[in-house]
Amino acid sequence: MKSLTGKTLLAIATLTYLFMWVPTITLIVFSFSNDKLGIRWEGFTLKWYAEIFNNAAVRNALEMSLIIAITTIVVSTLAGTVTAYGLYKYKFRGKEVIRMSLLLPIVMPYIVTAGALLVFFTRVVDIPLGYPSILIAHISFSTPLAVFIVLGRMQRIDWTLEEASMDLGAGRLTTWRRITLPLLMPAVIASAVLIFPWSFSDFTITFFVAGVGNTTLPIYVYSALRWGETAAVNAIGAIFVALPLIGLLLMNFFQKKRVI
């Protein structure tokens, strides 16, 4: 890294990281500030963290968002993995069409999708606005993400391993469970890691298709922050950055430098 290029790259990278992290760091810092607007530093407090558990609205919204995000992750990664497998393994007519139509949910403007789904759910099919509509919307969106991530991994996998397993006497299912899935796992987890923030913080689509009793965290934040206080919301934001960070650090600490 002694070269000029190296130094320039380091500088750009550092600045970019700073750019990406400053808002989050501010958020974490001010989540400990006594100022209820979350703008100024007015002494250390933990009360906003307590507030998360005391304020029923915040707690319900958080719970709702987590349930939706976790369900979405589970269904989408499963469906995405299975679909990617089919797309990779079989040759059939219409494969390209399917691949391209899977791009649609990723590239469509959110607000158009949101409107389309709202109209579709209310005017065309009678799918109740609520968990069903939100989950359908989230899964429709996240599954393609998982498909493409897993598909990417599949292109780098040695597929004779699967044949080797069958040759050694393992049936299709056992092979899936013991060989294919472990090999795909990094991609499955990568999709979960990307789907979580997407589903957890989606506002536009959820906001449109949410029904009775479905105030998710982003909806609450949007509704409350336009007028209300921000400090408790800062605390929630802080938790969601801090948790994975702490997890990472712990893992690093306990794990000897083992290579996969």
Partner: protein
């Protein structure tokens, strides 16, 4: 060989496999004897790997039957077939230890844990892998990985072990060592090996029987000696390394000899073979090491003597690859001269010489 009435370990009957635009396996029938090493030899893309994969059940055939131990197993899925394949890429499970890799097959067969442990221990000893049990494949050398792959298949005591160019990824020296090792292991466990390779030397040194394939068709089946010394067709002759091939027609026969006229117009003599009808003959081949080079002064009398000029001499260590341009036809003939002899006779490029080989050395080609 013929008088033994045993059931072949593996038998293919009229096997056909078509891929879009190409017939990979074209009506192949063969029998693999129990306890022997049988090689499928051929250039890459000749369909040998496809045939192997069909036997393993990893590919379905379009026509024909596969039999193991006399039973048709066309519809038996891969995981129920009594054979095991060692892949060219080895296909060791990267996320499992050596031990887990080796015991994988036994676990699928629901073998009791104690027995698995015992058999894994045995095979690891046999393979000389002691101490590597807990390592992952990525932490092993190429040769060690090879052994793990072998152990993983052998531990199942399959009726036949299918090897798909297993040594291709090793360097030359390691490959030599592994060939010897393979032979030893095969003798020790007594399992039938069906070996796919494109390396004729490997096939010659390892096999009891060799089947040469080209473009999906079986060209010739025989012992290594038969294949080497009497290749039946141009393609086999070419592939096995007999680089002197003279296409031609039989023009006369008698006295236990046949006379052919090559496309260039020379006459060559070969021994007559009762089994061969002369219309079928398409030419002859001569191994370069059987081609003698004589100083120019030597007489032209006798069979298979031709005048020529040395165009190239390539020192190959134990022999000198000498290319001679024949005066009569302008064609090239290759001779492997013994290095020492070569020095003694002191041929040099550009020199006019006489080439000669005995009629016994002429091998009649049929296709």
């Amino acid at each position: 060989m013929e008088n033994r009435e045993s059931i072949p370990c593996v038998e293919l009957r009229n096997l056909v496999k078509r891929f879009p635009g190409v017939t990979a396996v074209d009506h192949v029938s063969l029998k693999v004897e129990k306890g022997k090493v049988f090689s499928l030899l051929g250039p890459s893309g000749c369909g040998k790997t496809t045939a192997l994969r069909i036997i393993a059940g990893l590919e379905t055939m379009d026509e024909g039957d596969v039999l193991i131990d006399g039973k048709v197993i066309n519809d038996v899925p891969a995981y129920k077939r009594d054979c095991s394949i060692v892949f060219q890429t080895l296909a060791l499970f990267p996320h499992m230890t050596v031990e887990a890799n080796v015991s994988y097959g036994l676990e699928q067969r629901k073998v009791p844990k104690d027995e698995i442990r015992k058999r894994v221990g045995e095979i690891i000893d046999l393979m000389g892998l002691g101490g590597m049990e807990k390592r992952r494949p990525s932490q092993l050398s190429g040769g060690q990985q090879q052994r793990v792959a072998l152990a993983r298949s052998l531990i199942l005591s399959p009726k036949v072990l299918l090897l798909d160019e297993p040594l291709a990824s090793l360097d030359r020296k390691l490959r030599k060592g592994m060939q010897v090792e393979l032979k030893r292991i095969q003798r020790e466990v007594g399992i039938t090996f069906l070996y796919v390779t494109h390396d004729q030397k490997e096939a010659l040194s390892l096999s009891d029987t060799i089947a040469v394939m080209d473009k999906g068709k079986l060209e010739q089946v025989g012992t290594p000696e038969e294949i080497y010394e009497t290749p039946r067709t141009k393609r086999v002759a070419d592939f096995i390394g007999a680089s002197n091939i003279f296409p031609g027609k039989v023009i006369a026969s008698g006295n236990g000899k046949v006379q052919l006229e090559t496309e260039g117009g020379s006459r060559v003599i070969a021994l007559e073979n009762k089994d061969i009808r002369s219309e079928e003959v398409t030419g002859i081949s001569v191994h370069p090491e059987l081609v003698e080079v004589l100083p120019e002064g030597t007489g032209l009398e006798g069979d298979n003597r031709f005048r020529g000029k040395i165009v190239e001499m390539i020192y190959q260590g134990d022999f000198i690859e000498t290319k001679i341009c024949l005066d009569q036809t302008g064609g090239l003939i290759t001779s492997y001269l013994n290095s020492r002899l070569g020095r003694e006779t002191q041929f040099s490029p550009g020199e006019e010489v006489l080439v000669h080989w005995s009629p016994e050395s002429s091998n009649i080609l049929l296709g």
